[in-house]
Symmetry: C2
Subunit: 466 residues, 2 copies
């Protein structure tokens, strides 16, 4: 897309996933969407079939054909502007899900005046037509990518406008003051104060508190969106990969009991009770009881630093309580804010009481047998609980997008300057400038303030057809 | 499915390809399809949204939610019986294309009384409700699998009833005679002939001629459906793999210039001008000028026998006219009905005239440089022409399904017995029996005569959601 002004032309693209399936949906949007479809739409006896005179939101059976060669029997649903996703005329053609048919239909649509849609162009048009704001548009992409209950709920809340509304309220309050201060500038010779400085200070502090909370929520938001990073650390023979396999195998079984669903398996992601955990490969990490081998250790500690949870796995036949303590002492220095979970593996169940006695004073300790798949349920429950204690309710507004955090940071910086200015009785014009900066930063989130680079950056990451 | 009687329950499945995309479609069919959807369908403010009172073929925006937790904003299209694909109430839920959302929506539908659809169950219901016959149902699966213009056109013709009609006409004509002959049996003491034996003989011969043509068309039909088998044969250094790469590379480029389409690349299939060619690996084939090495040769000749076209590729720098002749002599014994195309590779274009003079008397010879990608267009055109000379017009009825051929063979055998019986003035009851066999065989094709094994065999090969 050369630039992000609203185009007048009609776009078309496959809207359903690539590949063969029972059906596929091709979507058109633009002022000629219905007319273009009509030019290739026929009755069973190949007579032209009108669509423009039909009511909006109705489905019509017919043939897509070109020069009397039938491409497919299809169902065409028409949506008339402005009550559509993009705000333009929309047509959805539901065809048989053969890749060949999808291609053929797109080709005749292009031949009759449609143009291939760019990635995200349907949603871009919805944004440009005011059907949703920028953070809602971004939430559409997040929603499609969401693969856990929490990431889904956050994206859904954003798409439905929860986050946008919060930002809009902040912005509106600030706007009122901004206009009063700009008014002061117009009457600057007269030295009047339309904007009550005490009220303004109170407002700025309220807004700053909300922004701070939103910025802080990003830590959780990021974890919800990308998965909670969990490092499994331990000596090579501790049973790390067996444990990972047991965890993942179990998960696959859960997914596959829903007929008709398969998911691209990402080996090291695991959703437990709707929470996504992302296991980080620590192959190469090695701690020894007395010497930390230098090779790979820096990298390993980096992994530990990035993880929210660290599982330290050890072989209960190998490590004594004293050995474990030495290991713990080394690791603890690198943990930072992460939570440490100590897991004793390869237990014999007849000796469990002995083990519990020996290691009973270690905080957050669990005993499992990865090979015999015992204690796995408890481990999973513990992982979910560790997350729950860290997180907030998902009905709270949670920022998941680093672009939004960056804008919030800018707004925060500007508002802090406003606060300082108020304390030092700075001139109205400087105040006005900083308030305007803050307004701009907030407006970037919802798209009231925007530019081509920003839009290009956002929508190019969408899939085609959305 | 335990058996193939029409079930009263409501089925649901994902109808679009698996994976994430802009949108996905979940389809329900059955008497409670609309009621089940209503139980999870809400307005933007989470008030229940009625669907049953809406006209058929209309689309409605709303939320899918369970216990006030919003799963997605969706578009629900309702189709009321009997004018639907299955003949039952159908609902299509168009949701955001996240795998997580697809699963969640299916789960709540199952919770509210839908059951997971079996593979092909939507089309099975369409068949059981008389919306399409068995050969049309099979054509639906072929249509989805079709990946070339020819296989698509044949499947489309079958789905639209071209083949069914042909069989139905044959069957009806035969039925008339069958009833007359059965009538004779009722009056067997009186020794009357209701069915004119000369007319019957004429009819049987007409039907036999049509059946013969249909059976013969399978050779082409099979090739259309599965690709024309082409063996590239030649010495290891002849440039076989370079040629294959050049052919396939070119094809990929053609596919990828259509935005939004990618196809699962099957390395050795290639569509040229809408005709699919299937290149068969002859790695290991070796003919030498004097001795045919025994290892791998039997397998190689098997490949040659299975191929419709054999490309014999040779290095023009290596083989003289005499060498080539020796090679040809060996290969020709094994070709059978296949077409042989001799291709001289690695040509220097300045010597082309010389080459043409030396090899000019070899039939079907072409000169190329695979490495420099010269002569490739001519080679492709030749391949398409070789196919065209063998094939019939795709508007003719072409049998593509081995099950149909088997039924046609049975009908043919029974009708030949009828013919023999007529010649030897056999008793009416034997005639009636053979005619009934023929009727049954023809009825199997369109599904007038059917059984659970047959249906199970056909529909289990469908994808879920169709």
């Amino acid at each position: 897309m050369a630039n992000y002004v609203l185009n007048n032309d009609t776009i078309a693209a496959l809207a359903t996933p690539h590949g063969a399936g029972a059906i596929a949906v091709i979507r058109l949007s633009g002022k000629d969407a219905i007319a273009i479809t009509e030019s290739v739409f026929f009755t069973k006896s190949l007579k032209p079939k009108a669509l423009a005179d039909k009511p909006s939101h109705t489905a019509h059976f017919g043939l897509i054909a070109e020069k009397e060669v039938v491409i497919d029997e299809v169902l065409v649903t028409i949506f008339k502007a402005p009550k559509t996703y993009t705000g333009e005329e929309i047509v959805e053609i539901s065809c048989h899900g053969s890749v060949f048919i999808q291609q053929q239909i797109l080709q005749v649509l292009f031949k009759h005046g449609a143009r291939p849609a760019q990635p995200g162009e349907f949603t871009l048009r919805a944004f440009l037509n005011g059907k949703l704001d920028l953070s809602q548009a971004e939430a559409v992409a997040d929603l499609i990518a969401s693969n856990s209950a929490t990431s889904h709920q956050v994206a859904m809340q954003h798409m439905r406008g929860g986050f946008s509304n919060k930002i809009a309220v902040l912005r509106e309050n600030l706007l009122n003051f901004a206009s009063l201060i700009e008014l002061e500038l117009d009457f600057s010779e007269e030295d009047v104060e339309f904007a009550d400085r005490t009220d303004l200070k109170k407002l700025i502090n309220t807004i700053l508190a909300i922004i701070e909370k939103l910025i802080a929520s990003f830590e959780v938001g990021n974890v919800i969106k990308n998965g909670i990073p969990v490092a499994i650390v331990g000596k090579p023979n501790a049973g790390k990969s067996t444990l990972l396999n047991v965890l993942l195998e179990d998960d696959r079984a859960i997914v596959s009991d829903i007929p008709g669903t398969t998911r691209d398996t990402i080996e090291d992601e695991l959703i437990i009770d709707g929470v996504m955990f992302r296991f980080i490969d620590t192959a190469g990490i090695r701690t020894t009881t007395d010497v930390i081998e230098q090779i790979g250790v820096n990298k390993a500690f980096e992994v530990i630093k990035k993880s929210a949870i660290i599982i330290y796995l050890f072989d209960t036949h190998e490590l004594s309580r004293g050995d474990l303590q030495l290991e713990m002492d080394v690791i603890k220095d690198h943990i930072g804010n992460s939570q440490l979970l100590v897991v004793g593996n390869k237990i014999d169940f007849e000796n469990l009481d002995e083990l519990k006695q020996e290691f009973g004073d270690v905080p957050n300790i669990l005993f499992i047998s990865a090979k015999e798949q015992r204690g796995i349920k408890e481990l999973k429950d513990t992982l979910v609980n560790l997350f729950d204690t860290r997180t907030v309710n998902t009905t709270d507004t949670i920022v998941t997008n680093s672009r939004h955090v960056s804008s919030l940071n800018n707004a925060q910086a500007a508002l802090i300057k406003v606060n300082e200015g108020l304390s030092s009785n700075i001139q109205s014009d400087f105040l006005a400038l900083d308030i305007r900066y803050a307004l701009e930063a907030l407006g970037e989130i919802t798209g009231q303030v925007t530019n081509d680079d920003l839009l290009g950056n956002i929508f190019s990451k969408f899939c085609i057809g959305k």
